[in-house]
Every structure is written in structure tokens, then in C-alpha cells.
């Protein structure tokens, strides 16, 4: 019974595909996967927006949306309707073609990225040997879309926002990739499924997830930081910085195009969270041995994903926005060296005999690096408390 529950969607897809003649079956299989992905993540998008608004409201000591539906839970539907029926405005000086293509170019790669993530046992839409590379490759495509949006609007704010976004994304893409390199090194594969399978099993009560090793923990934290910046989430949301440049690169977008940008941002967040789960948090595996069989694997994946979403919302409600120079200094002078040292630590972990020694060595390296780099950055007074000057 548990087996059937676990493989429910796999069996369902196989059953559906069975209706079609043999030559069409691959195409149909892909189409079913795509439809399911879009459906699931669009739904998740809706849930995430309402959760975020309610959560932020709670953090900011207000109610949040509470008019539509019970406790305002149908608010996303109202928002969606509003977006669809709003007028599509294109600025007169804008480059129309590029302006039109930009939101598509943003959402399409993110949807592609979804295709390589394993959502449960046997539930990877495509099983690619170089899956992680695919993820990063298509992730790189979003930067171009951001540029297209910012440039084609012919608006200073949007161009500035696009430039900021690109600079930030490029800067944090390096530590993002480097921090995931540790996992690839240890597992010895770029296949997401293989990475998840490498994290199966338990040591006592502790699952064999990568996050429970020194390099894995450091890698996970660094990956999370870089992921936050990569998806332009607070506290790294300079590209949108509404207090300075109104809304960044999509300031000239309205209606459904705006909705696409909005959705692209959330999709990006989901995708990168899914990658983090795959790389560090054991994918579809349960946190405790006795839960492994009783609860289906995809449930665990989405539980972890919701955990990530909650974390992002919490961060957004808690942390103030960084300055651009702080952001860049942090990326190049702290995160990047830390990821490089983390690679060293992972290598040592790989080749030292199992036991307390490699724990000690890796911890010493990482903590030492953390203290040294952090000390040096604080000593340089880059992040000294800001002096506020109030208007008189």
C-alpha cells in the first residue's frame, strides 16, 4: 500500500501514456510531465504569494490580505484575475519585440530548470547525466532575460535595475556553483538522482544528508546565501530596491507580463530551493528512519520546499536591504574564499579516513577561515554601523 502511494503519480503517468500508440509515447510522456509541473508550481506560486503576504503581515504587525475567501486565502485568485484583465502598456520609446520577449525568456529557462529536479522516487521529469550543469546553464539564461527587460523599457530605472541584477547574479553565481561543486566532488556525479541516492540511509537517527557534514553544512549555508542573492530576494533585493529605483527592471511592465516576472521570480526561488534540497538536504528522503516508508517521498520533498519558502519569507521580513558595495564585498571577499576553502575541506574529507580526525580537520579549516575572513572584513570597517542622518 505504501509502495503504491509512493509511486502513485508514476503509475498514473504510465497508465495515461498507455492510451497512446507507441511512437507518440515519449512525446506524450514529456507533455504530461510539463503539464504536471506547470500545474503544480503555478499552484505553489499562488500559495506562496498568499503565505508571504500573510507572513510578512504577521511579522510587520498587521493582518495582511484578509478579504477574499476565508481569511483572505483566495486573494491570489483575485490578483490573477486582476493581472489578466489589466491593460498591457508598452512605453512609446521601448523596443517592442524585446520588451515582449523578455518575460518569456525569464520564465522559460526556470521551467526548464524544474525538469531536472527529482521530486520523489522515480519522479524526475528527465534523467540527465549532466543534470546539475543543465540547471546552472538554464539559470544563466535568466540574466539575459533580466537585461532584455531592463534595456528594452528605455527607462533609466529599469536599466539601472537590470544592471544591478546582472552584476549581482553573476557575482553570486560563482559561489553558488562552487558551493555545489563540493557535493559533486563527494558523490562523483552530476546526476541529481544519483546525488539524492547518495544521501540515502541513516547513521543512528541522523540521516546521511550532506548537510550533516562540516563541508556540507558550510556548503549549504553558502549555497543558501548565494541562492537568496541569485533569486533577488531580500536582503539582496537591490535590483528591485523600490526606495531607490521604483521597481527595478520590470518597472515598465504591467498586466500579465508583470505577472510573468512575478511568477518567474517565485519559480526561480522554488527551483533553487529544490536544488538545495537535492544537493544538501537529502532530496526526497525522510529526516527520520521510521518516516521513510510510511510517508511518500514526494511529500518530503515538498515539505522541505515549504520549509525553504518559509525561511525566505522570514528572511525577507527580518533583514534590511544591503548596499551595493556591501553586497559585492561580501560576495567576492567572503563568500568566494569561503567556498574555495570549503572545496579544500571537502577534498580532505574525501581522502581522510572516516572518524573524528576528519571532522576536526574540516571544522578547524572552516571555522578558522570563517573567523579570519569575518574578522578581516569587520576590521576593515566595511560593515560598520551606519550613521543615520535624519532630515531636520
Amino acid at each position: 500500500m505504501q509502495e503504491i502511494l509512493d509511486q502513485l503519480f508514476v503509475l498514473l503517468k504510465a497508465w495515461l501514456v498507455g492510451f497512446f500508440p507507441l511512437p507518440w509515447q515519449p512525446l506524450v510522456s514529456i507533455l504530461i510531465s510539463v503539464a504536471a509541473l506547470i500545474l503544480v508550481f503555478a499552484l505553489l506560486f499562488a500559495v506562496a504569494t498568499i503565505l508571504e503576504r500573510k507572513g510578512l503581515g504577521r511579522i510587520q504587525n498587521r493582518y495582511g490580505p484578509n478579504r477574499v475567501g476565508p481569511c483572505g486565502f483566495f486573494q491570489p485568485i483575485a490578483d490573477g484575475l486582476k493581472m489578466l484583465i489589466k491593460e498591457d502598456i508598452v512605453p512609446s520609446g521601448a523596443d517592442r519585440v524585446v520588451h515582449f520577449l523578455a518575460p518569456i525568456a525569464l520564465v522559460a529557462p526556470v521551467l526548464l530548470a524544474f525538469s531536472v529536479l527529482p521530486y520523489g522516487r522515480n519522479m524526475a521529469p528527465i534523467d540527465l547525466d549532466a543534470g546539475i550543469v543543465v540547471f546552472f546553464a538554464v539559470g544563466a539564461g535568466t540574466e539575459l532575460a533580466v537585461f532584455m527587460a531592463g534595456w528594452s523599457s528605455r527607462n533609466k530605472y529599469s536599466l539601472l535595475g537590470a544592471m544591478r541584477a546582472i552584476a549581482q547574479m553573476i557575482s553570486y553565481e560563482v559561489p553558488l556553483i562552487l558551493s555545489s561543486v563540493t557535493v559533486i566532488m563527494i558523490v562523483g556525479s552530476l546526476r541529481p538522482i544519483q546525488i539524492v541516492e547518495a544521501q540515502a540511509g541513516y547513521q543512528g537517527w541522523l540521516p546521511a544528508w550532506h548537510v550533516f557534514t562540516p563541508w556540507g553544512l558550510a556548503g549549504f549555508l553558502l549555497f543558501a546565501i548565494a541562492a537568496t542573492a541569485e533569486s533577488n530576494r531580500s536582503p539582496f533585493d537591490m535590483p528591485e530596491g523600490e526606495s531607490e529605483i521604483v521597481a527595478g527592471y520590470f518597472v515598465e511592465y504591467s498586466g500579465f507580463k508583470f505577472a510573468l516576472f512575478f511568477m518567474g521570480e517565485y519559480f526561480g526561488m522554488f527551483a533553487i530551493s529544490g536544488l538545495a534540497i537535492t544537493l544538501f538536504l537529502g532530496g526526497w528522503h525522510a529526516p527520520l528512519p521510521f518516516l521513510e516508508k510510511s510517508i511518500p517521498s514526494y511529500v518530503w520533498f515538498f515539505v522541505k520546499l515549504f520549509g525553504f519558502i518559509a525561511m525566505f519569507i522570514w528572511l525577507r521580513g527580518t533583514l534590511p536591504r544591503l548596499r551595493v558595495d556591501q553586497l559585492m564585498n561580501f560576495a567576492w571577499k567572503f563568500v568566494l574564499p569561503m567556498t574555495l576553502l570549503n572545496i579544500l575541506a571537502a577534498g580532505l574529507w574525501r581522502f581522510l579516513p572516516a572518524g573524528a580526525t576528519r571532522w576536526l580537520v574540516c571544522l578547524v579549516i572552516l571555522l578558522g577561515a570563517f573567523l579570519a575572513l569575518g574578522r578581516s572584513m569587520v576590521a576593515r570597517r566595511k560593515w560598520s554601523p551606519r550613521k543615520y542622518r535624519f532630515a531636520e
Binding site: 524585446v98 547525466d129 549532466a130 550543469v133 543543465v134 546553464a137 539575459l144 537585461f147 534595456w151
Partner: protein
């Protein structure tokens, strides 16, 4: 002719032609991205999965962005209605056509037309990595050094000079 190949070839060629012929430089860069993407798809067609994605990662993710930045940084002080072609463009075009013709003649006359189609190889990333770490470890190191040097050099060249005598 394989329709997929035909479509990708058309896409790539169109992107390339547009990239070198459009007036707007940003459009050129975007069309170049199209050409790169088409090439990546062709690599996938040729069973070179890893190379295809690496092509996207590097060209679309990095080189195209670089070009875009360069375009934005070198624009502005020139009047908009200048000719887009250089003064001696006819000669250049002639040479390019000549080269194309020569290459076409060469391909057309070579024996590759009668080359047998071999079964598709299935290289895994692990095999590539092992090759890189054994047979090609020296080139790998050299290219790492080259990239570092190029990065530093590019930063230094493009860095704003300090307020010196103008």
C-alpha cells in the same frame, strides 16, 4: 535532410546573420545568443550533452552578458546615423565570400560525403572528467592559468585610470 537539423541550422544561421548585420548592437548581441543556443542544440543533436550545456553556460551566461555590457559601456557619444559598415566593406565581403566558397568547395570535394554514419557514442560526464584528469590534465591546468591571467588582465585594462594627466 533531418527536419530537426534543418530547423536548428536555419535558426543558427539566421541568428548569426542577424548578429552581424543588424544596426542595433543590442539586437545583434541577442541574435548572437540565439545562434549560440542553436549551436548548443546542435551539440545535443550530436550526443555531446555536456559540451552543449557548457556552451549555454559559458556563451549565453557569460560571453553574451559581457558583450552586452561592453555595448552599453561603449555607447553614447557617437551620433546615431553613422554608417554601420566600414569604409572598405566591399573588399571584406568579397574576401568572406571567397573564404566561404573555398570552404564549401573543400567540403564538397572531400570524401566526408561518403563517410559512414557510426553508431552514436554515449559519453558520460564521468568519462570526460577522467579524461580531463588524466590525459588532459596539463591543458586543464594551463587553461586555468590562462583564465586567471586573462581575468586579471581584463580587469586591469578596463579599470578606470586614476586621475592622471589627460
Amino acid at each position: 535532410m533531418d527536419p530537426v537539423f534543418a530547423f536548428l541550422a536555419l535558426l543558427t544561421t539566421a541568428g548569426a546573420v542577424a548578429a552581424v548585420s543588424l544596426r542595433n548592437l543590442v539586437h545583434c548581441a541577442l541574435c548572437l545568443v540565439v545562434a549560440f543556443a542553436g549551436l548548443a542544440a546542435l551539440y545535443l543533436q550530436l550526443n555531446a550533452q555536456f559540451i552543449g550545456f557548457a556552451q549555454i553556460l559559458v556563451y549565453v551566461g557569460a560571453v553574451a552578458i559581457l558583450i552586452v555590457f561592453a555595448i552599453l559601456l561603449t555607447r553614447g557619444s557617437e551620433p546615431g546615423n553613422q554608417p554601420i559598415l566600414s569604409s572598405s566593406w566591399q573588399a571584406g565581403l568579397g574576401v568572406a565570400v571567397l573564404v566561404l566558397g573555398a570552404l564549401g568547395v573543400a567540403v564538397a570535394s572531400s570524401f566526408v560525403r561518403y563517410y559512414p554514419v557510426s553508431p552514436a557514442p554515449q559519453p558520460t560526464v564521468r568519462e570526460l572528467g577522467e579524461q580531463l584528469m588524466t590525459n588532459y590534465v596539463l591543458p586543464l591546468e594551463v587553461i586555468g592559468l590562462l583564465l586567471t591571467a586573462a581575468m586579471i588582465g581584463a580587469v586591469i585594462i578596463a579599470m578606470h585610470e586614476k586621475q592622471g594627466p589627460r
